[in-house]
């Protein structure tokens, strides 16, 4: 399959460029020589709410000419004062008992921790081709959610879903970015319907950084009461996310703060929990899904506070975690999470053994005696994966299908055709299904064809996000395979299974070693050990590839990546020279180990693995860097832990001679 920009088009195809708002908030009049996409529903037409927001599109034979036209479009802009923030979403949770336990606590630790505004940044940016064919629109789009795109584009245009066929080319990375439906997809479909022409828009990196979807930008305030032995009693939390100008489809503005609040302290046996989660608007790019979503901010906040407690009480951070981890799983947490399986103390003990924790403590003491800023950090976490329809509906989210589906056909020639509602972006779906078929049916993998990303062929379902591949999607495939086995692989067999998966809680314990250069204040991760429990492992190499890539992404998110806006709402980080991501020289080898506690919620026991690496790194890397500079009197709380942030945190001490 070609990537979107490589799809062969007819010679008469046109290239699209968008007219984008130069202002963070502005009204605009009619736009001549460009088609304002009236099909896109706006609460107040003629209003742009963030710099980079698309307001119209232009087309020409080449992209350069289309950009010329977009630049020449005479838009009457009327800059406006910023609007006051709107509360897009607010929810509270209270287990009861928090005030009493905090009042009776031996000590109460407080902290405020901020996850930076970031962006998923797949190496291939977005792109859309709208191709009128046989009275329908064939919409090629680089997406993780083909059926969600079909449904939303059709609804927005007010046409039957049958009139849209979504096709997904090879996808050059998604990481959550491509799990949304964007204005550009709707606009191209509308324009192609209006003109009958084949239209293509290939997003450039500036557009991608400015106006696709951002992530996180979440501040978590925590109060934790502990008893005299350091046992966690109660947590009072507030998670507040700046979600930008719009609530993105399908996850809505609730995604980041709700996910964050639900994840706080979930691996620990706290007795009481209260939280308030809020999503506030601003004149910035909308915030959406990015690998780990609010779990990243939650694990950063939780694990940083746990290390501050350990330092405050003089208890080793590993020992403090062992003392507070759920001693037995399954268990329902104070926050109401029904943790399905696992062995939390064993995760921590395995981590200590695999990493050689005692030896590392000695190395740290030696390094510090030499004046080196050397730190060790643990990230202990659980996450939720595979969220199903019933879970979304309970949360009040109706815009996500939630189900996952598979269809298997046995052809007359004896081949097996597996199609699913998922969409591949390099995770290895096809290889996984082929080997599942071989295992379940004894067929040769090369006799299995896999089709994803074509809404005319694949069964209806959610797509690929929330680590659902090894949960609902695999479950649907396995159920189909067993029905095909029961039919004795008879040619003509055609089965479909749709699964409403129960949310699962994979868990893990990570350890990072970091060193901060006392002169440049650059932090480097020098060693990384991950112990994961993602349930039964289906494909060891693919699972480790997800963990390793996820950890690398997390290292970048903790040390490097941050979107910055000017006071007047202009993005200052619209190039990859300004928005930094990790390079080969930034990532150490990732040592990956597993314990496998099968989930009772899936036939094979698998739990999903797409996000675990990143979520764990938010705890382990941030604590390692914080540990390295704690000896210098600095306390880090705001991501990324860049040289500038470390410099700020050092305060008075930063002028001291660098070496001792």
């Amino acid at each position: 399959m070609p990537y979107l920009a490589d799809v062969e088009l007819p010679a008469e195809a046109l290239e699209v460029a968008f007219v984008r708002s130069p202002f963070a908030h502005a009204a605009f009049g009619a736009i001549p020589d460009a088609v304002a996409f009236s099909a896109w529903p706006r609460p107040q037409p003629g209003r742009a709410r963030y710099a980079g927001e698309p307001v119209a599109l232009c087309w020409a034979a080449t992209r350069a000419e289309a950009e010329d036209a977009a630049e020449a479009a005479e838009v009457e802009w009327e800059p406006l004062e910023p609007a006051a923030p709107t509360t897009f979403f607010e929810r509270t949770f209270d287990s009861g008992g928090v005030d009493e336990l905090l009042a009776g606590a031996a000590r109460v630790f407080e902290g405020e921790f901020t996850a930076a505004r970031q962006t998923p940044l797949p190496l291939e940016a977005r792109g859309v081709i709208a191709w009128p064919r046989d009275g329908r629109i064939e919409l090629w789009t680089s997406t993780q959610v083909p059926h969600v795109v079909r449904e939303h584009v059709a609804q927005t245009l007010g046409i039957e879903e049958d009139l849209i066929r979504v096709r997904v080319p090879e996808v050059g990375g998604g990481f959550g970015l491509k799990a949304h439906v964007f204005a550009e997809e709707v606009a191209l479909a509308a324009a192609a319907r209006a003109t009958g022409r084949v239209l293509r828009w290939v997003e450039d990196r500036t557009e991608n950084l400015l106006a696709s979807a951002h992530a996180h930008d979440t501040t978590v305030g925590l109060r934790l009461g502990v008893d005299a032995e350091g046992r966690f009693l109660a947590v009072d939390a507030e998670a507040s996310a700046d979600v930008g100008a719009y609530s993105l489809h399908p996850f809505t503005a609730s995604l980041e703060p709700a996910t964050c609040a639900q994840t706080l302290f979930a691996p620990y046996a706290v007795r009481a929990l209260r939280w308030r989660a809020r999503a506030l608007s601003s004149h910035r790019c909308p915030v959406g899904a990015y690998r780990g979503v609010g779990m990243d901010a939650a694990v950063h906040a939780t694990e940083r506070l746990v290390d501050e407690v350990a330092a405050g009480l003089g208890i080793d951070p590993l020992e403090l975690r062992l003392r507070n981890a759920h001693p037995v799983v399954p268990v329902t947490t104070a926050g109401g999470r029904a943790l399905d399986s696992g062995d939390y103390p064993r995760l921590l003990r395995d981590l200590a053994e695999r990493a050689g924790y005692e030896q590392l403590l000695r190395e740290r003491a030696e390094a510090r005696a030499q004046g080196r800023w050397f730190g060790i950090g643990i990230g202990f976490f659980n996450e939720h994966s595979g969220t199903g329809r019933s879970d979304y509906r309970r949360r009040g989210v109706t815009t996500i299908p939630g189900v996952d589906a598979a269809r298997i056909q046995v052809t007359e020639g004896g081949r097996l055709v597996i199609s699913t509602s998922a969409a591949e972006a390099g995770q290895g779906h096809a290889a996984t299904y082929r080997r599942l078929a071989a295992r379940e049916l004894g067929v040769l993998p090369e006799l299995v064809d896999v089709v994803e990303g074509d809404t005319d062929v694949a069964p209806f379902g959610s797509g690929t996000f929330a680590s659902r591949g090894a949960v609902g999607v695999t479950e649907a495939v396995v159920r189909c395979l067993r029905r095909v086995a029961a039919a004795d692989l008879a040619p003509g067999t055609d089965v479909v299974e749709t699964v409403d998966a129960t949310q699962i809680y994979p868990a893990g314990a990570h350890l990072a070693v970091a060193e901060v250069d006392p002169v440049s204040l650059v932090a480097r991760v020098t060693r990384y050990v991950a112990v994961e429990d993602v349930g039964t492992i289906l494909e060891p190499e693919l699972v480790d590839a997800q963990v390793r890539g996820g950890v690398a992404m997390g290292i970048g998110d903790v040390l490097l990546s941050e979107h910055v806006y000017s006071e007047d709402g202009q993005l200052r980080t619209a190039t990859l020279l300004d928005y930094l991501v990790p390079l080969a020289s930034d990532v150490p080898p990732v040592e990956i180990h597993h314990i496998e506690s099968p989930s009772p919620h899936t036939t094979l026991g698998s739990k999903g693995v797409g996000e675990a690496g990143t979520v764990g790194a938010f705890g382990a890397v941030s604590n390692a860097v914080a540990d390295a500079v704690r000896s210098q009197g600095a306390k880090l709380t705001r991501l990324p832990y860049s040289p500038a942030r470390i410099y700020e945190a050092l305060g008075e001490k930063k002028m001291a001679p660098p070496r001792g």
Binding site: L123, R205, A545, G549, L576, L577, L583, A584, S585
Partner: protein, 135 residues
Amino acid sequence: MNLALTVNGQAWSGEVEPRLSLADLLRERLRLTGTHLGCEQGPCGACTVLLDDEAVRSCLLLAVQADGHAVTTAEGVDLDLGPVFQCGFCRPGFTVTAEALRRAGLPASEEALSGNICRCTGYGPIVDAVRRCLT
């Protein structure tokens, strides 16, 4: 402007706009879509090609700057880094960078491969693959 160059050993000449980038010449005119565009700002390295023996960003070079030179794209490189990628979008850039190291007789290292961004793999498997190819 008139432009004459060789691409993967084959001569090509034609009229091009002065503003046409080398990447767009390769991708849109010659339909050599193995050269990927990841940023058009320089840092990502997905569009790396060889200009004679030197690795360059084809997105930052104007096509006319390649006049009289030999351009080699991923399609013209006989190096297979194997199944170490995930989404694969960075593969052509790493492949051409590896070829540049090979031609210069330089070893693979994390630093030598830090001009190419990969968002999927965490780099370790790619660095190992380039090492295998160059030894």
